[in-house]
Amino acid sequence: MKSVIIGQYIPGKGLFYRLDPRTKIIAVLLIMIAVFLLESITHLLIGFGIAFMLLIIGRISVIKVIKGLKPIMILLIFTFIFQIILNREGEMIVNHEMYLTLYTALFLVLAFVVWRVLVKFTRFRFTMFFLFVAGVYLILRYVDFGYQLLSPFNFQVYEAGLRMSAFVVIRLLIIITLSTVLTLTTKPTNLTQGLEKLMHPLKKIGFNSEDFALIISISLRYIPTIFDEANKIMLAQASRGADFSEGKLKDKLKQVISLLVPMFIIAFMRSEELANAMESRNFVPGNKRTRINELIFSYRDVIATAFSVLVLALAIVLKVI
């Protein structure tokens, strides 16, 4: 759980930490729209460069962001592969004959075993995965001797497929980088406060942004607490012989129930206690509340907003031309 960077705030200093959360939300939103408007790959690459520049300006560790990308990486790889294989428009670029013979199958199994073993003992999981994929490709391509299990088939890559897959991947990368910068540099409480202020005008159509912000901040606040409680319950039940890492599937089912029931009961107890605590401190839903830390819109925010508006305007201009 701890390695998940997405949506996690990491304390630090730098330009983005000092920006108003409202500015950051708006800027990220505008730049995202701009990214979706771009149509050529060079423009997208420039966009990616800008996103990268923002990381450097904000003095955010690139390694941290890359680590944060890890869970998304699988998604990116799959979109990439599917786009390449399934998109058959434009010119054909690669046309390789692939074979699946008895020996190929054997080599594939061997490659798989080697990959799994290496993953267990080394730290470079993603590198290993790429090496494995490359190995599979080479085996399919060049091992053409032996008894044929399938008639040879063609591995084809079309120009549009390549372009589209690069397009989608870069677009996703920019969006994820930007949102990671947002959550990495903004405290959840500030984020919800920013959202609350931004959605304030929606009150006219009956949407109460303050309640919404409160709901979000309470749920965020309780995620670690609930994890803590779950851990305690797990230990208490393990102490009664329900160890989750031992035992058969049938036993495990019962053990899950022994975890879930106390979990719900404790969550309900907690929420009731919280409600009482809030009420005894005079919280009345819907009443106007003041804040200890008011958001301040400074000159930095003006610059940042202007920059994002500029980016969007540029994207629109490019689209129209």
């Binding site: 102490s239 009664r240 160890d243 009961i265």
Partner: protein, 286 residues
């Protein structure tokens, strides 16, 4: 046999300080028979962490411990059957809410024994026995554990472990949140079990009166270090108790106060109220 700690340390990851060490270099031996041990220390001194090591719920970050011949180290070992350790060493948690989950008290108490592969009838019998042991009658068997009072929940959770019939019983503050009468009932029960079956019992407590009255061995933890291991009376004879955020039992406090104010020469080391009263009478005050 029993439990042997060998240079056991445990560290929690903590945001502020990197690693927060809960217990440090603990060397300790608990034999499997006839021991009645109190584990004391101020809040945050590592008592619960130490207790969780005793039935291999958590593993030491350094050092090792031996529980009934099973060596427990930082790494999980496939050969060690952790579940069977928990059958031998039962740990009752401080808050019963973390373990009660069935619709009836009976089913809940049966959960532990059933995890160790015994028949339903046998588990039912054990549940009933355990419930009676903790001072609740059979009418509780069919009740919903969540509709009980705090003290009753506590007793049911203790019964849940007793029904597993462990060789060593560890209880994390079993008497907290109970009224004085209930406290005495439970302490007498533990003493009874200890005397009749010879099971070793370890109890975490803050109540120095209980420590003095009931136990023959006391372990004191201070900031994760084991600073005392011996008889309670020896502990209370030492001067630096206050330094460790501990207190003297009421009998000692009252008698020494009398000694000081009235310039008497009473023997202040009296375990129970009755003995204290006798001593006061002997001193000619009554």
């Amino acid at each position: 046999m029993g439990i042997r700690f060998n240079q056991v340390s445990y560290e929690y990851p903590s945001f502020a300080e990197g690693l927060y060490s809960a217990i440090r270099n603990i060397n300790l031996e608990i034999t499997e028979k006839n021991e009645f041990i109190a584990l004391v220390g101020h809040t945050g001194s590592g008592k619960s962490t130490l207790a969780k090591h005793m039935n291999a719920l958590i593993f030491p970050t350094s050092g090792s411990l031996e529980i009934y011949g099973n060596i427990i180290t930082a790494k999980r070992n496939r050969k060690v059957k952790y579940n069977s350790i928990r059958k031998k060493v039962g740990l009752v948690f401080q808050f019963p809410e973390y373990q009660l989950f069935e619709e009836t008290v009976e089913k809940d108490i049966m959960f532990g024994p059933m995890n160790f592969k015994i028949t339903q009838e046998e588990a039912k019998k054990k549940a009933k026995e355990a419930l009676n042991l903790v001072g609740l009658d059979d009418s509780y068997l069919s009740r919903n554990p969540y509709n009980l009072s705090g003290g009753e929940k506590k007793r049911v959770s203790i019964a849940g472990i007793l029904a597993m019939d462990p060789d060593i019983l560890i209880l994390d503050e079993p008497t907290s949140g109970l009224d004085p009468a209930g406290r005495r009932v439970l302490m007498n029960l533990f003493q009874d079990i200890n005397k009749k079956t010879g099971k070793t019992i370890v109890i975490i407590t803050h109540d120095m009166d209980l420590v003095y009255q009931y136990f023959n061995r006391v372990l004191v933890l201070n900031d994760g270090n084991l600073i005392f291991d011996g008889e309670p009376e020896k502990l209370f004879r030492s001067e630096d108790l206050i330094k460790y955020h501990l207190d003297y039992p009421n009998t000692i406090k009252v008698l020494s106060h009398l000694n000081k104010e009235l310039h008497l020469n009473l023997n202040i080391y009296q375990k129970t109220l009755e003995e204290a009263l006798e001593e006061i009478k002997r001193g000619g005050l009554l």
